[in-house]
Symmetry: C2
Subunit: 197 residues, 2 copies
DNA sequence: CGAGTGACAGATATTGAAATCTGTCACTCG
DNA sequence: CGAGTGACAGATTTCAATATCTGTCACTCG
């Protein structure tokens, strides 16, 4: 981040710089003063755009989660393909995305894990959104006769819960295990089998 | 714990006192000196029986896990009953036991959660033992024709992983939610359905 | 002997004073 | 005006000194 630039100070620019500062200093060391310094403004200016440090960090978290949700939405709403195979693709995309984020840059992943933990409200909304995506896939399968579910939202939630080990960041350490992929496949196929008509 | 008694200083007595001290002071404050004081001996004596504080805490952890495993083993090896219903009973017993421990004495539960985290070796053995119990139930079902599984140990592991939300202490906070029981039932029935012949 | 002791060295944790950070606000200046 | 400032009070974090704990060992004493 170049020290300054006479560009207008927008929320967008502040968020991007906050991400950068979090990346460099980590979640415990990154301060509002650091963000302001990186932007070449006083920290008071940052408070013109965000009411608190917590709100700033929450906005960064939201941004990150939105990116993931959009990616998965594309799979969920893709035309064609059977519901079971779409379900499998969706679960695999979720797992692979997380696994790569955790594996490629563990420090950044740890940083975001801290932010997720302190913004459970934003995370809950994100999880609700993901379960809703799953529910749409399952509903499609029920309509097509390839899946069976009495309570579609309940089934979606159950699928999400049952695969928690492969998307909950608390298990990130396990994702490095060489047996994690067969384990993922075993759970996925068990769950899909349980949902088949 | 009465200050002293001229009883012989056995590993068993040290372990019981360590549990008591952990219960009262919590995992961060409980020291070997505290344990010795509660036993009315010098801390050097404790080191005659356990090579280190870590070993002492590990032994306490092992003791606790063994108790749980024995309880579940009774269900797994009970004669009679179909494999699917035994599987359900086993999963429910595991969940209820954990849920009650967490709900009835949250501080003690938190203490043990800390000990579990620092003794992953002991925990891994315990988990292997539990998965083996599941595998025995599933094998019984396959033999009786009520369940289907190509790879029985793999399926047991998958069942265990899929129900993680209902036994992994990291999720203990969720166990207080009023919706946790239907969620448990949804996952359990999905998994058992996936295993049915 | 051999279970138990207690003084000791090095490691770890606690504490309180100093430094830094968060959030506010009266002010500047284009 | 209204985006940006910087000095300030109170909260939080850091750091170094102090205290406590862990683990060892030469010793006691039944």
């Amino acid at each position: 981040m170049p020290p300054a630039a006479a560009e207008p100070l927008t929320p967008e620019r502040i968020l991007a710089t906050t991400e950068e500062v979090l990346r460099r200093f980590g979640p415990t060391k990154a301060t509002v003063v650091d963000v302001a310094r990186a932007l070449g403004v006083s920290h008071g200016s940052v408070y013109r755009h965000f009411p608190s440090k917590a709100a700033l960090r929450e906005a960064v978290t939201e941004r990150w989660l939105t990116k993931s949700a959009v990616l998965l939405e594309e799979i969920a709403s893709a035309p064609g393909g059977s519901a079971p195979s779409k379900l499998e693709a969706w679960l695999e995309a979720l797992f692979e995305a997380k696994r790569h984020k955790a594996g490629d840059d563990p420090e950044l992943f740890a940083t975001y894990t801290v932010l997720l933990a302190e913004n459970s409200g934003v995370v809950d909304e994100h999880l609700t959104e993901l379960v809703a995506q799953l529910a749409r896939i399952i509903a499609e399968g029920v309509a097509a006769g390839s899946l069976a579910a009495g309570d579609v939202p309940g089934a979606a939630r159950a699928v999400f819960d049952a695969t928690g080990r492969f998307h909950d960041p608390q298990y990130a350490a396990d994702w490095l295990s060489p047996t994690i992929i067969p384990e993922f496949e075993a759970v996925t196929s068990l769950v899909i089998r349980g949902l088949r008509a």
